[in-house]
């Protein structure tokens, strides 16, 4: 497999990070967004990031020039129809995604691989919007934020996707600067599922809103567990509302399986708008 022409749809945090990473792999990248303002903002931010890498001598002038030329903002109706891979990274709304994929299926050539960066929806539901033939070339590619730094890409295989195609994608990412993990199309894929108890269990250890116990748990898990951040400080950074929403989504997707049940304190904090660092009040105070 040789991925040369990439289309990234959605120029938000994830989309622009993904576009930047592919450009850094010497791919030709077309970045698409409904909002021209968002598109230009993303492009500017990527250019600033490359300029900083140039200043730090991590990239050469030639490399930066080539990457800037290879990353092009486009309107959806003008993107190359013969792209090798399309990655959707738009708003997490299933109906909007399905409508988009229906259009993309008709627009792109038969060899184009369609993929979604969703963390919320089964890939299968989005693939239901495309033709039987395209389903074989429809996968999930779940990147982690920031996409240029985090090594993991979950390569998600829905039941109709071609097995060899998923294997080839795995090999391609493995040959680049990524650490791919192949997984089945199931709620939370690997990371958002297995990581749930890094938050859920410490909440049950401290039992209630007790800051000194939380500090102790964070300390022990950093010092003994070797985690870079403890669960409470990490939840504050992620956002209590964001973490609670992912927990609820996985819990609902697994028919309210007790292993994924949210803790009452998470709900209470969301209701009290104690959402973490972004509002200077979460499990801890940030004054």
């Amino acid at each position: 497999m040789n991925l040369k022409k990439i289309v990234v749809i959605g120029a938000g945090t994830m989309g622009s990070g993904i576009a930047q990473w592919f450009s850094q792999q010497k791919c030709s990248v077309e970045l698409v967004d409904n909002s021209e303002e968002q598109l230009l903002k993303a492009l500017q931010s990527i250019h600033i990031s490359w300029d900083k890498l140039l200043e730090k001598k991590k990239l050469s002038l030639e490399e930066v020039t080539t990457m800037k030329e290879s990353l092009v903002p486009k309107r959806l109706e003008h993107v190359s129809k013969d792209a090798d891979l399309v990655i959707e990274a738009i708003i997490e709304n299933l109906e909007i995604k399905k409508n988009l994929f229906k259009k993309l299926d008709h627009y792109f050539s038969a060899h184009t691989i369609l993929s979604s960066n969703t963390s919320s929806f089964p890939i299968e539901l989005m693939a239901s919007a495309v033709t039987h033939e395209r389903k074989k070339r429809f996968v999930g590619l779940h990147f982690f934020n920031p996409a240029t730094i985090m090594k993991l890409v979950e390569v998600i295989k829905p039941k109709d996707a071609d097995e060899q195609l998923c294997h080839d994608l795995y090999q391609w990412f493995d040959s680049k600067d990524k650490k791919p993990a192949l997984c089945k199309d199931s709620p939370g894929f690997i990371v958002n599922r297995v990581a749930r108890n890094f938050y859920g269990e410490p909440l049950r250890i401290v039992e209630n809103d007790n800051e000194s116990k939380m500090k102790e748990v964070d300390h022990i898990l950093r010092e003994i567990g070797g985690f870079k951040m403890g669960p409470f400080e990490l939840m504050d950074l992620i956002g209590i509302d964001v973490n609670y929403s992912v927990t609820c989504s996985v819990w609902e997707a697994y028919q309210q399986e007790p292993r994924f049940a949210p803790h009452a304190l998470q709900k209470q904090m969301v209701e009290e708008k104690r959402l973490g660092r972004k509002v200077k009040r979460g499990f801890y105070k940030y004054d």
């Binding site: 985090m150 690997i190 990371v191 599922r193 102790e216 010092e223 567990g225 985690f227 007790p258």
Partner: protein, 174 residues
């Protein structure tokens, strides 16, 4: 299990059934005992055995040998002895079944086993995903390698104590 005695102190290390652990305590009513209770609830033991003056969790420690320790009353001699034995004890005031680190990682490990059982991904992909997606220092199966019996025992103990179905172990662990 290994016992180390000095002065009037007995340090009990290693894995044992709850009954085996209690037997050590019954046989040593006059000593100050400090015991590895990684897979059990220290509060149950404290209430039954006043000679138990501290508990620790060493079964999941790695090559750095950092361990959680809880004292009924702080004992510097015991801390010094643990350091002499190569451990780096970190004190905790929280008394919880399975302590903090073991209890948290057995739940992460159990979920990884459930994902494996359901065919979501292979062991190496799950390890890789957790290390490179959320920067875990080890993959769940790297943590559990050779320690599956401790994982299972702690999950069963947590379930027995709470009756909460979140602690039911994956059948692959049994």
């Amino acid at each position: 299990m290994t016992n180390i005695s000095f002065d009037n102190i007995l340090l009990n290390f290693g894995f044992g059934t709850k009954e085996e652990k209690k037997k050590v305590l019954r046989e040593n009513p006059d000593k100050k005992i400090f015991m590895d209770l990684t897979c059990y609830d220290p509060s149950e033991f404290y209430s039954e055995f006043p000679q138990l003056r501290g508990t620790f969790a060493a079964l999941f420690c790695d090559e750095l040998k950092k361990i959680e320790i809880h004292f009924v009353e702080k004992n510097q001699v015991v801390l010094n002895k643990l350091v002499e034995l190569g451990f780096s004890p970190i004190e905790t005031s929280i008394v919880s079944c399975g302590f903090i680190f073991p209890r948290t990682i057995v739940q992460i490990i159990n979920e990884a086993y459930f994902a494996l059982e359901e065919g979501v991904a292979k062991k190496e992909d799950i390890n890789r995903a957790m290390k490179f997606g959320v920067n875990y220092p080890k993959g769940p199966f790297e943590w559990s390698e050779g320690k599956e019996i401790y994982v299972l025992t702690l999950l069963q103990e947590l379930y027995s104590k709470t009756q909460d179905k979140r602690y039911i172990p994956s059948s692959l662990l049994k």
